[in-house]
């Protein structure tokens, strides 16, 4: 009796463009509210506030300087 060789079927894959695919359920903010104020978040936002205040003060100083309202020491 002759041996029968069965070739396993080749694997096939379907590539679908994201815009043609079904929508996934994403990570949602629904019901979460604002982010939890962990020490890292609190510290980061405080540092950011400090940075913004400092940068604003430097720019205000620069504007006053440009306007000639400061005595020139340089």
């Amino acid at each position: 009796m002759a041996a029968i060789h069965i070739t396993p079927p080749l694997e096939s894959y379907r590539i679908i463009h994201p815009l043609d695919d079904v929508a996934e359920t994403k990570c949602s903010t629904t019901g979460l509210g604002p982010i939890k104020m962990t020490p890292a978040v609190r510290l980061s936002l405080t540092a950011l506030r400090g940075y913004l205040v400092l940068i604003t003060l430097m720019l205000v100083y620069h504007v006053i300087d440009l306007a000639g309202w400061l005595p020139h020491t340089r």
């Binding site: 379907r14 994201p18 815009l19 990570c27 940075y51 940068i55 430097m58």
Partner: protein
């Protein structure tokens, strides 16, 4: 990526079978290639659009003033660009929402409005510089600013109002690939390639040492390579393209290849600027250098330089305007999608058209202080970048929102906090230099 593994009774030599929803392939390499090709876009576009008119000017100035000495900085910025934008792509895929919406929802209206206002302001000022570059470059061809700027504004509007994200993406990718012409110009410039290789990996001492103008240029290069609008743009773009969870590895590859391509193009711009340095040509903008180089290297380089300047400005303008329109639409809760027709998303398209039209109009005002606007762009960008990146970093550590799968790993955090520290230091240096102009002299 939803890869449906199916058994098909097809002839063994059948490689690709087009179906109504997707394409069936058998070869693993073909699967990988097609999986990448359907995802490619947001990463490449965000990176290459960053080589906008301001970037062309900055990189060419760097080459014109310091020759090849600052090439190493671009190589250093490559991983920084990638790490930041990878986080953006990951957040976009995980949430399916834009960056402005995420800041607004997780950090509240105050930080949301602050980020949005900063973004809109810096984007608008940047847009003005894009139109100024278009006007400058096409004036060299004898086209009046009124004509060139108006035509560019109309073309930029037509590019988005077709109601098809895919069409917009294909056109913009084609524009990105036009930038390969920079490599031709770099070869025509005949730099000493051994010096290029050396300066790309080893910082060498520049003529005149560390001066205020060198520090300013270094900060400008960092600022132009990592711009705040990129964070907002790529995340919105990823959401717009509806990239799936399984697309992340291809989105990462898209971002990485985009970053490499962008840095190579930026390097080519520096090599062209170096041509001016070697011929002792002083210039204040790329159009001036193009005109001055014509007798040295011929009209091909001149014309290509001018047209590439326009291409850079158009790429920057469409990406920046879309970043603004997406962000504003997200925060206002409007329909904000290129898939929609203009009458289906009127607020979104109106924002885009308003940004483009107003910036174009300002450039056409006689004697408008463009230099002041360019300086304001740098100051604003310096202000917003560290804050935008802090929100990104905090969002990527938001376990409640993202769960274990998407949040940053500890090594991500070490790298990103280091990058944030460096950016804060550079912002302070820039601010200090504004206040004390002779700080480094």
């Amino acid at each position: 990526m939803r890869l449906i593994q199916i058994e098909l009774e097809l002839a063994p030599d059948t490689e690709v079978v087009a179906t109504t929803s997707g394409t069936t392939v058998r070869r693993p390499w073909l699967r990988s290639l097609l999986s990448f090709l359907v995802v490619v876009g947001p990463g490449l576009i965000v990176m290459e659009a960053d080589n906008d008119a301001g970037a062309v000017s900055t990189y060419m100035q760097a080459g014109g003033q310091y020759g090849l000495h600052l090439l190493w900085l671009l190589v250093l910025l490559l991983p920084i660009c990638y790490f930041i934008q990878e986080m953006v792509a990951r957040l976009g895929i995980a949430t399916g929402k834009g960056h402005a919406a995420m800041i607004y929802e997780r950090f509240g209206p105050w930080w949301g409005r602050f980020s949005l206002f900063d973004l809109l302001a810096v984007n608008f000022l940047t847009l003005i510089t894009e139109f100024a570059a278009i006007s400058l470059a096409l004036s060299a061809f004898g086209i009046r600013p009124g004509v060139s700027v108006s035509m560019a504004a109309v073309a930029l509007t037509l590019l988005v109002v077709t109601g098809s994200y895919r069409r917009w993406e294909r056109i913009v990718i084609a524009l990105c690939l036009l930038d390969t012409l920079w490599f031709v110009l770099a070869f025509v410039a005949h730099p000493a390639w051994s010096k290029v290789a050396l300066n790309a990996v080893v910082p060498t001492r520049v003529d005149g040492g560390i001066t205020g103008s060198l520090v300013f240029l270094v900060i400008a290069i960092v600022g132009t390579t990592i711009a705040p609008w990129q964070l907002f743009f790529q995340q919105s773009c990823v959401a717009e393209k509806r990239l799936r969870f399984a697309d992340l590895k291809w989105a990462r590859l898209d971002t990485l290849l985009g970053a490499i391509f962008t840095v190579l193009v930026a390097g080519a711009m520096m090599l062209v600027g170096d041509l001016g340095y070697r011929h002792h040509i002083a210039f204040s903008d790329p159009a001036q250098l193009a005109q001055a180089l014509a007798p040295v290297v011929g009209p091909f380089v001149r014309n290509s330089l001018l047209l590439l300047m326009v291409n850079a400005a158009v790429l920057g303008a469409t990406a920046i305007s879309l970043a603004s329109a997406w962000a504003y639409g997200e925060v206002r809760g409007w329909e904000h999608s290129l898939h929609k027709k203009p009458w289906e998303a009127p607020g979104f398209y109106a924002t885009y058209v308003l940004c483009v039209g107003a910036a174009a109009g300002i450039v056409l005002i006689p004697h408008v202080p463009l230099q002041l606007i360019i300086l304001s762009v740098q100051a604003f960008a310096g202000l917003i970048l560290p804050s935008a990146i802090i929100f990104l970093q905090l969002l990527l550590n938001d376990h409640e929102l993202l769960g274990d799968r998407w949040i940053n790993r500890p090594w991500n955090n070490v790298i990103n906090w280091t990058i944030i520290g460096v950016l804060f230091a550079l912002s302070f240096t820039l601010a200090a230099q504004v206040v004390l102009p002779n700080l480094f002299n």
